[in-house]
Amino acid sequence: MNTVAEHAYLLDPSAPADDMRQDPGQAATHLAAFIRQFVEEDPRNALPEGERLRIWGSPLLGIAAADDPLFTKLKTPGVVGPLHRSPGEWLSGAQSVISWFLPYNKAVRASYPKKSPLPSLAWVSGRRNGEVFNNVLRRAVIRFLEKHGGQGVAPSNEAHYQAIGMIPLWSERHAAFIAGLGSFGIHGALITALGCAGRIGSVITNLVLPPTPRPYREIYEYCPYPDRCGACIPRCPAQAIGAQFGANWRDNARCVIQGRDVVGEFFKDWGYHSCGHCLTWLPCADRIPRASSPRAQTPEAKTRAEEPEPAFLSTV
């Protein structure tokens, strides 16, 4: 296989196509290298304001088997719901689901005010423009797969994709959970080895790729609550997180109203919205919290957790 040498967009149309069907392990390595290089080099991974900070750091990548029984379980009411479509319903002959977590660059994360009920400009810009980049990445991965003898579909960018009553036809977070990227926090975000402050994307492919082992068994395994922590509950300016909201721990509508109406009104002239209090200045913001289940402490997570905690964690 070729090494990923071209600049992002990458794939030189005149270059010979490789066949990723021959060696799934090598194909996954090649794909991971492509995604990491793309995130590193594509010029759209940058804020359009100020110092043009990079939005996303190096991503985490996970792969799920398209026939993983958990995808069927997502159709259960209260999990995602009957509207949720399995990989094979998006792509005939689906074999694998490629999922990634894009962590916010440290500078963007650090720009978020600790005390204010509002986010920083860099954060709201990163949320909006970073999702545009996430779309760009989805399309680049599809083009990459096509170039290498496969097909790909990004459900979240399909014309008929939608969320009905906040139930999506495809849940990026749940796909990431199945692909071994992390487990949920009570704030609803996925806690990964790089924390929860980021965005998730995925592409379904008909190529066979080796599934990533899931180093967890429980939905909330990386979240120390209720035994410890709970720092996101008082931090939410909309009081949208807590046991009073039942098994899912949060009121999604309050969350949307805060992001769209309160934050959106404040940043109206900029054209931005969306909140991020539950992703910042928390023990799980950039790592799996130390207080989480011992089973959550994978070698990678342990290494991360053994790094000195930032000073701000003691003052949350």
Binding site: P13, A46, V132, Q162
Partner: protein
């Protein structure tokens, strides 16, 4: 549980004439003399009116999205090479015939306010 009031979302169609003219201008440039694709050229689309123009790649500019002409919009080898007697305008229209529905979806998602679908409020 709290309920959410929906708000209307503007649906502005992608401006075909400006996209066609930008692509035609690109074809004119790279087919002048020896055919030489330019991998630094991007099609930029403005959010406010969905008009497009051609420019060199640079960091993002507020209120626009952009797409590389070579590889991203047109991935086939020699797609942007003019055939004998073919005008840039004719070639641009042919090329756009192949990607127009997809490009409209890309634009819709890239300018969508939420991630709940390209037409979500």
């Amino acid at each position: 549980m709290t309920t959410i009031a929906e708000s209307p979302v503007p649906r502005i169609p992608l401006d075909y004439p400006s996209v066609r003219d930008a692509v035609a201008d690109y074809l004119l440039q790279v087919n002048h003399g020896v055919y030489q694709p330019d991998r630094k050229k991007v099609l930029s689309v403005r959010k406010t009116d969905r008009t497009a123009w051609l420019r060199d790649v640079s960091p993002p500019v507020r209120g626009e999205v952009f797409y590389f002409i070579e590889g991203e919009l047109f991935s086939e080898k020699d797609a942007t090479r003019l055939q004998n007697g073919e005008t840039p305008q004719e070639r641009a229209e042919k090329l756009l015939d192949g990607i127009w529905p997809q490009l409209q979806i890309w634009i819709a998602y890239d300018f969508a306010r939420s991630t709940s679908g390209m037409n979500a409020p």
